[in-house]
């Protein structure tokens, strides 16, 4: 898809602030202006799956946004709460199955979405998000947050230990 028309938007400051969004005459009703937006083509997408199979099949959030993002990207690296067989993922009642042909690499990383949520697996970490929001109020606080949670932890396990992660009960 080279570009896409979107309803609304005409006459807003998207026209001023987003020069890559264009207003053109609707080809089917030239008296009507319509906004068109360029396709998003990502080099790399990093997404987190509910579960992944070794062949790249993913079980993703039912909201589909991650599945669409993966299909718009050249390279897709998926972390996952757990590994499973592709057959098991296809039988799952929850979520959306994305076929492995769209996926470049899979990494087993429970807690990989922290501090955000994985619907149906664990909730978001509200206390940690509040800590981040408070830290991000000024540059020094943001730096301290970055040191403590991003730069210092040498690997994912250290990060999880530092944020006090406890694995959700397996269903």
């Amino acid at each position: 898809m080279p570009f896409m028309p979107v309803a609304g938007h005409v006459g807003s400051d998207y026209e001023r602030l987003r020069p890559d969004f264009r207003v053109i005459p609707d080809p089917f009703a030239p008296e009507r202006p319509v906004m068109v937006v360029p396709a998003i083509r990502c080099d790399v997408a990093l997404i987190h799956a509910i579960a992944a199979a070794p062949d790249g099949t993913l079980l993703l959030d039912h909201m589909e946004d991650d599945a669409l993002l993966a299909q718009a990207s050249d390279v897709v690296i998926a972390s996952a709460e757990r590994l499973a067989t592709a057959d098991e993922l296809r039988r799952s009642p929850a979520g959306v199955v994305l076929e492995g042909i769209h996926v470049t690499a899979v990494v087993e990383a429970p807690g990989g979405a922290h501090p955000t949520l994985v619907r149906g697996v664990h909730a978001l970490d509200a206390a940690h998000l509040r800590e981040y929001a408070a830290a991000a109020r000024d540059e020094a606080g943001f730096r301290r947050y970055l040191e403590r949670y991003v730069l210092e932890p040498k690997d994912h396990a250290t990060y999880l230990a530092r944020v006090g992660w406890t694995a959700p009960p397996t269903s």
Binding site: V6, A7, G8, H9, V10, G11, S12, D13, Y14, L17, E31, R32, P33, V34, D61, H62, M63, E64, D65, L68, V96, A126
Partner: protein
């Protein structure tokens, strides 16, 4: 008045929902969600209710793409929007306060508002803070305009704006918000001081009818319980009783 500001605003919103229509509530919108649920549990049992991030009120198999396609098809009768700034002309700013490249406040961005404001048949604006920094004479950036020239396809647009102090009505002739009713206990002078643009009053402007005991009861029981599925923290704090 024996209710919280959120309860009053939820009751106002509930009375605006019509039975049988399709109503959508977006993200970060617990106030309209509670109003819509109150309507749904009372006079609008046949309304089709869509609440983002609520597992019981998401009548789609897919995600936001399916919802936005549905909205662009013109299927929403009623939707709710807000803004970091809202001006007298119903323009919404969700981009930034101050210069866009060097903002004083970076706002979350427009998401679907610049489409939904045009396509949902009636849009109710809401804000839980009524101060001059929110209700400004002119928004710094127009994420979504209150009105459009005739050539633009726009079947929908602003209808009302609900705040903790008053209800504004959008006058389509003058393309402007006018005070439709002032909440009980709010003085006209206070409303003027806390609004950044010059107030104009509808000829029939009166006092907002407060929630009835029956409405408050449903809000504090069924609505609170149902809302917790998407907004546990708001459900725990917004209601009295």
């Amino acid at each position: 008045m024996d209710c919280t500001a959120d309860e009053l605003m939820a009751a106002v919103i509930a009375r605006l929902v019509r039975d049988g229509e399709t109503v959508g509530v977006g993200t970060l919108a617990p106030l309209p969600a509670s109003g819509v649920l109150l309507a749904h549990f009372t006079h609008a049992p046949r309304a089709r209710v869509i609440i983002f991030n609520h597992p019981d009120y998401w009548p789609f198999r897919g995600g936001s793409k399916e919802f936005y396609d549905f909205a662009q098809r013109g299927r929403l009768d009623l939707f709710f929007l807000s803004g970091g700034q809202i001006d007298a002309h119903g323009n919404l700013n969700l981009f930034a306060v101050g210069e866009h490249e060097r903002p004083r406040v970076r706002l979350p961005g427009g998401a679907g508002s610049a489409m939904l404001y045009y396509l949902a048949r009636r849009v109710i604006l809401f804000r839980r803070e009524h101060t001059p920094r929110i209700f400004v004479p002119r928004v710094d950036h127009v994420t979504s305009p209150g009105s459009s020239p005739p050539a633009v396809v726009r079947p929908g647009g602003p209808w009302l704006c609900v705040t903790p102090l008053c209800v504004f009505r959008f006058d389509p002739e003058r393309r402007r918000l006018v005070v439709a009713s002032i909440h009980p206990g709010v003085e006209r002078g206070e409303l003027a001081r806390r609004t950044g643009f010059a107030l104009e009053w509808a000829p029939d402007a009166g006092i907002t009818p407060p929630p009835t005991p029956a409405e408050l009861h449903v809000l504090r029981t069924r609505v609170r319980e149902a809302l917790a599925g998407a907004y546990p923290q708001y459900a725990a704090t917004a209601f009295a009783g």
